[in-house]
């Protein structure tokens, strides 16, 4: 009797602790959002909206157009996604479905080590090796371009995508594959039409995490994209220098006077970044949610 009551008392504390840490995530996000809004929204009063949605960023002369920064972030992120998703998925499929056991046991940890590389190291490699090489190969005016940034960001996103997608593929029950093979499907048909669709929500999460990693990355892009606030126009922009939102905040926040217009505009850019990652998250969860419902219908 006595023992049972201590146990339930412990249980009570533990449950509450777990609950609190669960809610704390929500509280932290709420607090961050509040801080961002309180520091960033004054920008809308100090700078007319038409000046914010303009194509010139030169804060020391009061040009606060954020479009080139938004464009720069989009170009680099789209480039990185185009590189990371095919390579990441292909590696995940190879590791989970095709590679022999021994290769798999070597490859997975190596990919995960790759994911742990500090981004400043990659940025340094980008400046010293990748950018001069690309300049010569592609005959660009300068190797410090959105493309160099995309390649490196793709490299940063790939380990995330591989690791998460591989786990998702691995979690697909063995019986699915056996059933497909028994029906006469080839190995490739099994992967493409059975395993991959069955792991779809996990694979989508992997891609989403990869993109989030790419759009939020700062150090590497600051080092290799040249940071020129040029409005990207057309596909040629991929091979021109760009300035991303994250690099702008990182480069300018250090010296800006607290409470000045420039300071508020930098936080406003933070709000825009926050909204973008929120949109990516919401879209992805909506897609996953719809997927689950459809699967449930099929199974019932």
């Amino acid at each position: 009797m006595n023992k049972k009551s201590t146990l339930s008392w412990k249980e009570y504390v533990i449950t509450r602790l777990i609950k609190a840490s669960g809610y704390s995530a929500i509280i932290f996000v709420g607090m961050i959002l509040y801080f961002l809004l309180s520091q960033g929204l004054p920008a809308l009063q100090e700078v007319p909206l038409s000046s914010l949605i303009a194509d010139r960023w030169y804060p020391i002369e009061d040009y606060y157009g954020i479009l080139p920064l938004l464009g720069g972030s989009l170009v680099v992120t789209i480039g990185a996604t185009l590189i990371a998703v095919p390579f990441g998925l292909a590696s995940a499929i190879y590791i989970a479905e095709i590679a022999p056991r021994w290769a798999r046991e070597i490859l997975k940890p190596i990919v995960e080590i790759l994911g742990g590389l500090p981004s400043v190291v990659l940025g340094f490699l980008g400046i010293m090796v990748l950018s001069p090489t690309l300049q010569v190969w592609l005959d660009l005016p300068t190797g410090l371009s959105a493309f160099t940034g995309s390649l490196l960001l793709g490299g940063i996103a790939i380990p995330t995508i591989v690791s998460v997608a591989e786990d998702a593929l691995d979690a697909v029950p063995r019986s699915y594959r056996e059933a497909a093979l028994a029906l006469g499907a080839t190995h490739w048909q099994t992967i493409w039409t059975v395993t991959l669709p069955a792991a779809r929500s996990g694979v989508l999460t992997a891609i989403m995490l990869g993109i989030a990693r790419a759009i939020g990355e700062t150090m590497t892009v600051m080092m290799v994209t040249g940071n020129a606030p040029v409005m990207p126009n057309g596909p040629g922009a991929l091979f021109a220098p760009v300035r991303t939102m994250t690099a702008t905040i990182a480069a300018e926040m250090g010296e800006v006077a607290s409470g000045s217009t420039h300071y508020h505009v930098l936080f406003f850019i933070g709000i825009v970044l926050f909204l973008i990652s929120l949109a990516v998250n919401v879209t992805a969860s909506a897609v996953i949610f719809r997927q689950v419902k459809r699967t449930e219908k099929l199974l019932s």
Binding site: R56, Y58, P59, I60, E61, P68, I127, M128, S131, P132, Q135, P141, T142, G143, L144, M222, M223, G226, N227, A228, P229, V230, M231, A240, P241, R243, A251, E252, G254, E255, V256
Partner: protein, 283 residues
């Protein structure tokens, strides 16, 4: 226990005789000057162990703000104090005194394979503002020009904008061309210029390495093309140079005065040359 230990250490014979510290000097401001100020402070403390000098960076504005609030003895600045700042200081009863303690040449650099080796100020201005965008327009090969600059928070960036791109004209609205690459470090500029034959960059003379080529600059068309050097800066022939300043409150006295006198001596100015800046007197 702990105090016992430290006593024991104090009792060891090899430790140099403790010197009675008589005065402290607080020195704060420009990041351009901070290395120079540190080198001076180190050297001076060796000569005068009774003086302690604390050097911190933070930027010219930070140093001058501290001077206005009377929290430093000496403020370092890579730009002249503004009228407004002098007024603010006077309101607090502090009248700043200015000392030019060294000079800094800003070198315009290109890739060693670039055949261009001289430019006028006007041409540099036109290149950076985007009017000239091919090296063939200034006597080079048919290559696009890639402009490199430090980030906008750098004092050197502001100096270059006001004195080179705008040619010192206050009402000029000229700006850096939009596609100017803004690199976060001097190292970034040097490495890109040394690898890219299209690039042009600028940096303090002290940061220029052998991997890049320095451009000779003429004040106007038909003028003499001059390379940055201590001599050409002091004779004012090299046009892109600025003074570096220290400010004190009122006329300096006591230890601060002795320190500033020493800074202007040939011995201290030799350190200026070692760090790649330009001394104000020829030692």
């Amino acid at each position: 226990m702990i105090s016992g230990c430290s006593l024991q250490f104090g009792g060891n014979g090899d430790v140099p005789e403790p010197v009675e510290v008589e005065s402290y000097i607080e020195n704060k401001g420009s990041d351009t000057i901070v290395n120079l100020a540190l080198a001076w402070a180190e050297e001076y403390q060796k000569l005068h162990p009774e003086v302690r000098i604390a050097v911190t960076g933070g930027g010219s504005g930070t140093g001058i703000a501290a001077l206005i609030n009377n929290t430093v003895d000496i403020a370092n600045a890579s730009r002249q104090i503004k009228e407004q700042e002098i007024e603010n200081a006077r309101e607090n009863g502090n009248d700043p005194t200015q000392f030019i303690i060294a000079r800094d040449a800003i070198a315009v650099i290109v890739n060693p394979n670039n055949p261009v080796d001289q430019l006028t100020l006007e041409q540099i201005s036109a290149i950076y503002s985007g009017e000239i965008s091919n090296w063939s327009q200034v006597g080079g090969e048919d290559r696009p020009i890639v402009r490199l600059s430090r980030e906008t928070n750098s004092g050197t960036h502001v100096y270059f904008l006001e004195n080179v791109i705008r040619l010192g004209e206050k009402e000029s609205e000229r700006l850096f061309s939009r596609d100017t690459l803004l690199l976060p470090s001097s190292e970034g500029i040097t490495s890109e210029v040394s690898q890219n034959p299209n690039a042009i960059g600028y940096d303090g003379l002290g940061y220029v390495t052998d991997e890049v080529k320095i451009i000779a600059v003429a004040r106007e068309v038909g003028g003499i093309y001059v390379y940055p050097s201590p001599e050409s800066v002091n004779s004012e022939e090299y046009p892109i140079a600025r003074d570096l300043y220290m400010y004190t409150i009122g006329e300096p006295q006591g230890a601060v005065k002795e320190y500033l006198d020493w800074i202007l001596s040939p011995e201290a100015q030799a350190i200026v040359t070692e760090l790649g800046f330009v001394p104000i007197i020829n030692p």
